[in-house]
Amino acid sequence: MNDAPERATTWRLFEPSDLVFAYDLAIIHGPRWWNVTRHGTSPEATMSSLSSYAAGVTILHEQTPIGIATLSETGSAGTGMFEVRAVDAPALRDSVSDLVPELIASVFAMSDVRILYHSRFDGDPELRGRSLPLWRDEVRFPEYAFIAGRYEDLIQSALRRSDFESSNVFPSLGNA
């Protein structure tokens, strides 16, 4: 018998039935989810972009989807692009960011990725949670895209496996 309380926020691998939720999320984000919506938000274009991700998980709060995390652009160089998106509600966004270190640990545990990259616009909500101090900003594209009435910079950050594994910030996550 397991007396551990069930967590309110959990994740599972992305399922085809999650596509509708992902589409809704893309519509809410608009250009902030540049990789998915830069060609517009027609269902066909959006679904096609969403289907191109190598792997993804759906983040659930009390069994209701509240966010998506994806891994893409994986290749022989041992790198990958990590993205995370959440519904537009501050409390649920916090629930998503609380889970992100665990998701990152899973990526490193289940793949041979050396470096994870993450891109965000200046005005994006910060969703990397407790993993944030481990990321290094490496490239800044000035005025990259037009969002909410002005051009915003895009910042590309990197998280190295070695930094993650040697971190004492999340000692319990190394074995995730």
Partner: protein, 187 residues
């Protein structure tokens, strides 16, 4: 757009150029790029590979030899955001002779006159970034950052520099003015 400089003619790529471009790209010292994830494609598949995600390409032809010394590509253009990426390739025997940088200036002139782009970006491997350093020092180009150990080259991690050239810096810069003055002399 075709531009003539003191030493080169910079013109759009045609299918008649493919064999020479293939020869340039097949050079092992050029091969260490991330253009082809699975290695150089066979010649019969080259056209599709060459133009994948690519909107325009120009060759740099030596006026004295009529031989292609290198070529430049505009790719992954995002008209909504107003930016694109560029790649440049130099024939082994042409490197260090300035043909490619001359070609890059002609390329900037072509791109910023024909495409409504605000920025063009390039990835440059650590071993190639020296070609951009003087432009960065002069302010004609900007190093937007360095992706440390981004690539594995010959089994070793290698940094990738991200270089940016803005429309504003090119169109208003002294480099462009000097480039076009020299071109005007060529006639």
């Amino acid at each position: 757009m075709i531009l003539t400089t003191t030493r080169s003619v910079v013109r759009p790529v045609t299918p008649r150029d493919y064999e020479r471009l293939y020869e340039i790209e097949s050079d092992p010292s050029v091969g260490s790029t991330w253009r082809y994830k699975h290695g150089m494609p066979p010649l019969e598949e080259y056209e599709a590979a060459l133009w994948r995600q690519t909107q325009a390409s120009w060759v740099v032809v030596g006026r004295d030899t009529n031989r292609i010394n290198g070529y430049l590509q505009l790719h992954d253009v995002d008209l909504r955001a107003g930016h694109g990426w560029f790649s440049l390739y130099a024939a082994h025997e042409s490197r260090g002779a300035g043909f490619v940088m001359e070609g890059l200036m002609a390329f900037c002139e072509c791109v910023f006159n024909e495409w409504p782009l605000r920025w063009i970006y390039a990835h440059s491997l650590e071993q190639n970034v020296g070609a951009f350093e003087s432009g960065i020092r002069r302010g004609d180009a900007v190093r937007l950052g360095v992706l440390e150990e981004r690539m594995i080259i010959d089994g070793r991690p290698s940094d990738v520099h991200v270089i940016g050239i803005s429309r504003e810096s090119w169109m208003t810069g002294e480099l462009r003015a000097r480039f076009n003055r020299l071109r005007a002399r060529v006639g």
